[in-house]
Symmetry: C2
Subunit: 180 residues, 2 copies
């Protein structure tokens, strides 16, 4: 699946949330998400712009591989493979045995809404700030995805600095600047 | 979890099956199991006596890591980590992306019975023959496990050549001897 989305730094989630709720957008879920990122023997995922992530949210654990970003103008696109797994602890242990170690962790409070043919997420990321994402449904063409994302961004006031870096990359940048 | 078991080559599964059924042993399940084994960049799992396996049985997919065998007299013991995953195809794709390729496949028809504090499995393995395994429950000590396994082997007539090789190793041995 190709993930196509925008990620926007916003100063306040409240006005976006109000518009979403006023329009009757369905709340898909909300809660803390704990993301652990892994590095292994194959290659340096920071250099190749890949990511291997194990997420825990409530009772659910999901393993995700993300490929290098293939587009990064105003839209961000990359291959994404997600699989739900039975247990975070056992998956972590198996990853360790096959050479993958947890190297970073990011946690956030996320709300997700279904809007049109996309998902809007409102994130409060520990230590990084507040962000809104608009991700197109997986069955859209890139052209349809872009159109739907821009329509939603305008309608719900999701306006601000757009960027391509993942929360992991923002986190690592911040770590580096704190050390230098 | 430490897996403690015996694996016995038997010429006929029918008499063991009859005794199991006559004793009222609970049939836990039966059906085809498709096992794919993976090799990756970390080390040669055939040399280190490890295994990374993705099993599909009916609607279920399970990823398993097995550590080196730690005992191999009459009993076989090794670390085993199992995790149920949502989809065989997606797990295979993620393994590929992180450097693990499918290198061998074994398929078998398996019946599993709960007997005392152990599981007895009767296997017809494609190209390899018929086998019975007795695996102790994970909460037994090694001493309890050995006692329970021997009691069950005697009671149900699970008698024959005991060996430590996995089906994968038997399969690879056969492949090699066919080539030489």
């Amino acid at each position: 699946m190709l993930e196509i989305e925008i990620k926007v730094r916003v100063s306040d989630l409240a006005p976006i949330r109000e518009r979403l709720r006023a329009s009757g957008a369905e709340l898909l879920g909300e809660g803390m998400e704990y993301d652990a990122y892994y590095q292994g023997p194959l290659r340096n995922f920071a250099e190749t712009d890949e990511a291997l992530r194990l997420r825990e949210a409530g009772e659910t654990a999901v393993l995700t591989y993300k490929g290098p970003k293939v587009g990064c103008g105003t839209l961000k696109a990359r291959e994404e493979l997600n699989i739900r797994v039975e247990s975070r602890e056992t998956m972590d242990a198996i990853l360790n045995r096959i050479g993958y170690q947890k190297t970073a962790a990011v946690q956030k409070y996320r709300e997700s809404y279904r809007v049109g043919r996309a998902t809007v997420t409102l994130d409060q990321v520990d230590g990084l700030g507040t962000f809104a994402e608009v991700e197109a449904a997986g069955d859209l063409t890139p052209e349809e995805a872009e159109k739907e994302i821009e329509r939603i961004a305008t309608e719900y006031g999701i306006i601000g600095e757009r960027f391509c870096l993942s929360y992991l990359e923002l986190y690592l940048e911040k770590e580096q600047s704190a050390q230098s």
